[in-house]
Symmetry: D2
Subunit: 214 residues, 4 copies
Amino acid sequence: MKLLLTAFDPFGGESANAAQEAVRLVSDTVGEVRVVKLTVPTVFGRSVAAVAAAIEAERPDAVLCVGQAGGRAGLTPERVAINVDDASIPDNEGNQPMDRPIVPGGPAAYFSTLPVKAMVRAIRDAGLPASVSNSAGTFVCNHLMYGVLHLLHERYPGVRGGFLHVPLSPAQASRLPAGAPSLPVEDMAAGIEAAIGAIAAYERDIAAAEGALN
Amino acid sequence: MKLLLTAFDPFGGESANAAQEAVRLVSDTVGEVRVVKLTVPTVFGRSVAAVAAAIEAERPDAVLCVGQAGGRAGLTPERVAINVDDASIPDNEGNQPMDRPIVPGGPAAYFSTLPVKAMVRAIRDAGLPASVSNSAGTFVCNHLMYGVLHLLHERYPGVRGGFLHVPLSPAQASRLPAGAPSLPVEDMAAGIEAAIGAIAAYERDIAAAEGALN
Amino acid sequence: MKLLLTAFDPFGGESANAAQEAVRLVSDTVGEVRVVKLTVPTVFGRSVAAVAAAIEAERPDAVLCVGQAGGRAGLTPERVAINVDDASIPDNEGNQPMDRPIVPGGPAAYFSTLPVKAMVRAIRDAGLPASVSNSAGTFVCNHLMYGVLHLLHERYPGVRGGFLHVPLSPAQASRLPAGAPSLPVEDMAAGIEAAIGAIAAYERDIAAAEGALN
Amino acid sequence: MKLLLTAFDPFGGESANAAQEAVRLVSDTVGEVRVVKLTVPTVFGRSVAAVAAAIEAERPDAVLCVGQAGGRAGLTPERVAINVDDASIPDNEGNQPMDRPIVPGGPAAYFSTLPVKAMVRAIRDAGLPASVSNSAGTFVCNHLMYGVLHLLHERYPGVRGGFLHVPLSPAQASRLPAGAPSLPVEDMAAGIEAAIGAIAAYERDIAAAEGALN
């Protein structure tokens, strides 16, 4: 099995991106899975194009995109991506789309085709906090997740895909006067490897009470 | 213009539901809008059936469903409903579906057809905290929002619909040892009326930077 | 019984102070208690002098100072004031003391001589969220609480005193993009009146498990 | 220089205590500082007695007590301990004192005699989140901090002392359904070593705007 693992470059004026640093530390081989890594620009449109090119070149069996979510305390596999770009800040090339469909005429949403609850359980079993997230936001993370799932649906129907958000690193949190939850990028890497193991082990997701009241 | 305004009965072992109490206080006439109210059971399936019957009987121009979201500090119009029931607690009749589509074969999601950003602005102009929410959860609130939007899409294409979450009431928060944000139901009612005014005034939503990074 | 009830003027660049607005709405007579009100400047030193002058003029039986605490969800009687000024922003006259004793040579702290747990219970019985707070911060609120308790201890030993923090108003929270918990100033006024009732009813505090683990 | 470094055993029904695990990993020598470690029972009274015996036996130059604070995201040196035991849960021997002075007739509070702002800066310079805390709660952590500072003040006037709270470990957070901020115990150990370095380097604290509004 081959898995394409992507992360974004730094955005929002920061010099580092925890997801990118964590992905760098992930092993090239996780169990039976060969991991191919890619850094993508935090840019609407170009991020999807970069992953599309890598999928075409690498022909992976699964795609896992990773992004940084300041404020979250654990690793959070995303359940769903929605067909809207609605940016509250500019991306790395100055684009700030508002209420614009990612794919005009495309489905309102795509569910992750990765086993999000099995990933959560595997990350917890690795001793790290995790939960299912029901929103990837409306910025470039959601954009990439939607764009990749749309591409897989249209052109590579046998390839599974999804998104995982990670917290800030302790170094990032140490620079915020009000503080924020964080995890070392080494732990994130271990959590990502646990999630990859679950992706390899579970074609269908497990049953678990991980829903959200609101 | 006629608007159907719904709220749920109490759930999760509580004796009151802030959304229900707030909806009771909303005027029967808001500007040019005649408001018809309905309490629906906090039950998968039956909640949608109750609203469907009321839509058929009342033939409203718009439907606004209101629900209680413990932990939120403001009034939050929901942007999107997703096609999944994933309950972490039982509903009022003991149902606890997990990872089950609301409408098998239905679209992955429906976007609100109400002007969520105009509603947020109107609620803030009324002096109350508000923001766009990108997830209505995976319990009965999301279920009803999806079910109603699906019904409107299939059978009443000219009728707009959507969902609004409100915080706990101060009385509810006063019984929680760890505390929680709250707003009086009278203020929620004023906020709901402001939102109804925006629904009447805006067929299309306004442009505003209200997106979420994650 | 006569109670001196104080609030601060707006600070931190805001045009309103929720505590001040709430105090304005408190009745001049609460049960058997005659309430005398005073607005004090959000200024190190001068705030204490203003209350000292009012105590000398009015000779109250108790002093309750009220302040605004952005971020808190309920009304929070303060247990203790500590002998340090440590300002992270300037006060309304530009003073920004750091790690300076309020009263050089004074005790490290004064405990409230008001019945904080009875106040919490009374506010909750009035249907509003409340809890005991173990820190009034290190800005002007803590400064005033310490200064008044020191004055009462030194010069008016029979007079009880303490401090109560209140949340932001909904209008203030509506202007914060990230949102914040809030309560209407009318509810705060009702909560303050409930607290005054408890102050009148309880010379000694009640027993209740309201401690904090950390 | 010799420093006595203490941690508590697990409490509140948990099988581990992050502070204890972190202290185990701290080097026995940090720069010029020789570190002597002690685990103390999470019990009112006996915890102070255990540290008192170790102080008498070891004659350290400084005492740093470390405790676990679920919910906090960073390492937080405590500014002050207050003279009250007010337990919301029983300690490890079933004691649950309420509103009882730790030392009858003792001062209302003791300020840390460790350089809390220098410690915060050193921990941040080590790439970890940190901030000054103005309340150690009213359970055994505050009890021990007060008890040790009282003892040092009365019997060992040249010995400095204070308290540091640490977050949960990722493993602890992974078992909480609602999640919580966490840091690996290895990082906590590095942060504690950074704090010890600051304790050795600064007899008097540095000036820094680390105060709290409320």
